[in-house]
């Protein structure tokens, strides 16, 4: 069956062990998590978890139902029209051209955020596939370390 990338946004009670309930649900059934982010929703007792996964329509439907079944889950958004962003940071040796790096970052909604004695850190925030493009492009500046945040998403 056709495997498609899906973004699932889950609103959960902000309590101990809720993350393990969610990740356990995926692990126990052999479903993959490509990325997962979680943070509290300000001024509420809830958190929002954004999960990027891949699976057939049937598997995704089952994941959604199983998520709903967890007691601390309030809402699950899946087929909603989501605006999705991801952030990445890359550490580059200072020998490279700072203005070239700056220009590249600029094209992907980013900038240089830190410069130390021998490295600089550049950050971008964009659609996940565009972050992927950026990470391809940055290769020629010999990145030493890369970190991606995983997706966050909000219903339009």
């Amino acid at each position: 069956m056709e495997e498609a990338r899906r973004v699932i946004s889950v609103i959960v009670l902000n309590e101990a062990s809720v993350l393990s309930r969610i990740s356990g649900l995926f692990a126990g059934r052999g479903y993959n998590i490509d990325s997962l982010t979680v943070a509290p929703i300000p001024d509420s007792k809830y958190s929002r978890i954004t999960i990027v996964t891949a699976g057939s329509v049937r598997v995704i439907e089952q994941i959604i139902k199983q998520l709903h079944k967890l007691i601390p889950v309030l809402k699950v958004y899946e087929h909603a029209d989501l605006v999705e962003k991801e952030m990445a940071m890359v550490k580059i040796p200072l020998g490279e051209s700072i203005s070239d790096v700056e220009a590249l970052a600029h094209a992907y909604n980013g900038k240089i955020v830190n410069v130390s004695s021998d490295t600089l850190i550049v950050m971008v925030a964009d659609e996940p596939h565009r972050v992927g493009h950026f990470l391809e492009a940055i290769k020629r500046f010999h990145p030493k370390e890369i970190v991606r945040s995983g997706s966050v998403a909000l219903e339009r």
Binding site: S17, S20, R21, H68, I71
Partner: protein, 564 residues
């Protein structure tokens, strides 16, 4: 009210009108046991192994319809209990399981008898709690009981560290449970129900597919009414035995791997499955791509995750099956013509005639199926029937004349050997007037044999009937059929003397080799009202038939087996 965490546990159990707790003490739960000693609100039954505590609570719950309660200590006490918890989860049995935990100051230090209990129970409970402050206990325990019995029922585990049971805090059990994130759908969507009724009225060969959810929802009476009004034939899953009376002409039989030919053929030929509280388990469907190919599906279930999980439902109805039937029945009276399915009834009668469920007698040797039928003839409705897991279990499901829901107590989903005896103790505690029979095998019975002591101590005279074939029979059957008779590790020729074994605990025992001896033993055991083992020597190589081999199609059953 300012009381200790341990006292809160007692107060909560009494407020929930718990009449019995099955348990086993240990270091981390001692504060609670100290309060159990002082109270008179409920009985505590000391089992002899923590797994048995949970199975006993399951048996109690299945027969009484109430939430069963088990209590255990941390570490090994808890890990012993986990099989029972998983069993209750698979069969949707409402339980509250309370475990002790090492004090909060030691949690995470690999302390003596410490294990991450909520980490282990998470995938096999409906919900679980680690209580870190006694002021949460009232809310947590009240939620635990509410979650266990509402929606799709299931076990809820509450882990309480020892210092929390000692802590003094305020206790107020009067507040209503309010869980914003948990609102099970009880009432079915009326528009969907109307569409379903139209589909039934238009169908030519509809079939009621009855599941264990009907028993949980106490909806058997309504199912009986619905089938009577509409004259739609029915098949029962293993879990649903007793929903319809065994003599009901509309009941075809059990379906699935060891279901009857007629039931499986009806499922294969139907044009409309009306699934009520059943979940299309793999033991029911056989090969999925061949399952009920001509059928549309109405699926009523309290658990949305069960609908379209295995097979796609054309008419999904999320709701309590009792509530949904209450809406369906008046509509069915108006719209469904009960004479419409006459041709379908004839087809099914033909299936029944072609290959009825049965077995053949062989000389003087007792056939295991005969034992099950005979118990049915002698005790019938007056007995509650538990089983362990294996051949004896399938023969009981096939041949016992069940006449009411909650008469049948068996481990369906998890298939736990060792379930039957402790469950039968809980059954006897819940329904003391009826005889509690545990039909078991010579393999299964040894998995919780220590409960003979519990039965004697608390005067719970369960009658264990061993269908003894000196084999792990079901595995032996598969080895014979599919592994070229290589009987790897299934020969149980070496056995204890079950009569002396029972007697050594203070019970009674019978070794039976003829039908006359069996009748006499059963009569005597029931009259004596002492825990008993009736060790029945049965035909060694009997197979459970008919059979859908694993992965096979329902309509392609093995009706007989000839040794090659």
């Amino acid at each position: 009210m300012q009381i200790s965490g341990a006292q809160m546990v007692i107060e909560a159990l009494i407020a929930e009108q718990v009449e019995v707790v099955f348990g086993y003490p240990g270091g981390a739960i001692m504060n609670v046991y100290d309060e159990i000693y002082k109270q008179k609100g409920f009985q505590h039954i000391l089992v002899r192994h923590e797994q048995a505590a949970v199975h006993a609570a399951e048996g109690y719950s299945k027969v009484s319809g109430k939430v069963g309660v088990a209590m255990i200590t941390s570490g090994p006490g808890f890990t012993n209990a986990i099989t029972g918890i998983a069993d209750a989860y698979m069969d949707s049995i409402p339980l509250v399981v309370i475990s002790g935990q090492v004090p909060m100051s030691l949690v995470g230090t690999d302390a003596f008898q410490e294990i991450d209990a909520v980490g282990i129970s998470r995938p096999c409970t409906k919900h679980n709690y680690l209580v870190t402050d006694a002021s949460d206990l009232a809310r947590v325990l009240k939620e635990a009981f509410y979650l266990a019995r509402s929606g799709r029922p299931g076990p809820v585990h509450v882990d309480i560290p020892k210092d929390v049971t000692a802590q003094i805090a305020n206790f107020d059990y009067s507040k209503d449970v309010e869980i914003e994130t948990y609102k099970p759908t009880v009432k079915g969507n009326v528009r969907q129900i109307k569409k379903a009724i139209e589909a039934i009225a238009a169908a030519k060969r509809p079939l009621l597919y009855l599941g264990g959810g009907i028993v949980n929802a106490n909806a058997a009476d309504l199912v009986r009414e619905f089938s009577k009004i509409t004259q739609i034939p029915a098949v029962e899953t293993f879990m649903a035995r007793g929903v319809l009376h065994h003599a009901d002409p509309l009941l075809i039989s059990m379906l699935g791997m060891h279901g009857s030919y007629a039931a499986n053929m009806a499922m294969s030929e139907t044009d409309l499955i009306i699934g009520l509280g059943a979940r299309f388990d793999d033991r029911v469907t056989g090969k999925l791509s061949e399952f009920a190919k001509h059928a549309q599906i109405i699926h009523v279930d309290i658990d949305p995750a069960s609908i379209s999980k295995i097979v796609n439902a054309h008419f999904p109805i999320v709701g309590d099956v009792k509530s949904v039937l209450e809406t369906m029945i008046p509509l069915a009276k108006e719209q469904i013509d009960p004479t419409r399915y006459d041709a379908w009834h004839k087809t099914i009668a033909n299936f029944n005639k072609l290959h009825p469920l049965g077995y053949s007698e062989e000389g003087d040797r007792i056939k295991p199926q005969w034992v099950v039928e005979r118990i049915g003839q002698l005790l019938g409705e007056d007995a509650n029937i538990s089983t362990d897991v294996g051949q004896h279990q399938m023969w009981t499901a096939q041949f016992y004349p069940f006449s009411r829901p909650r008469q049948w107590i068996s481990s369906g989903g998890l298939g736990t050997m060792g379930f039957g005896f402790p469950a039968a103790l809980g059954v006897k505690r819940a329904d003391p007037k009826r005889v509690s029979i545990n039909i078991t095998g010579d393999g299964s019975i040894l998995m919780n044999i220590q409960e003979l002591m519990t039965a004697v101590e608390y005067d719970l005279p369960v009658v264990n009937v061993i269908l003894n074939n000196n084999f792990l029979g079901m595995v032996r059957q598969w080895q014979t059929m599919f592994y070229d008779k290589r009987h790897s590790a299934t020969d149980l020729s070496l056995q204890p003397d079950f009569v002396k074994l029972s007697e050594s605990f203070g019970g009674i025992g019978y070794r039976v080799t003829t039908k006359e001896e069996f009748d006499a033993a059963l009569k005597d055991a029931v009259e004596k009202k002492v825990v008993a083992i009736i060790d029945v020597v049965v035909n060694r190589f009997e197979n459970v038939l008919p059979m859908v081999p694993a992965g096979g199609s329902l309509f392609n059953m093995m009706l007989e087996y000839k040794e090659k």
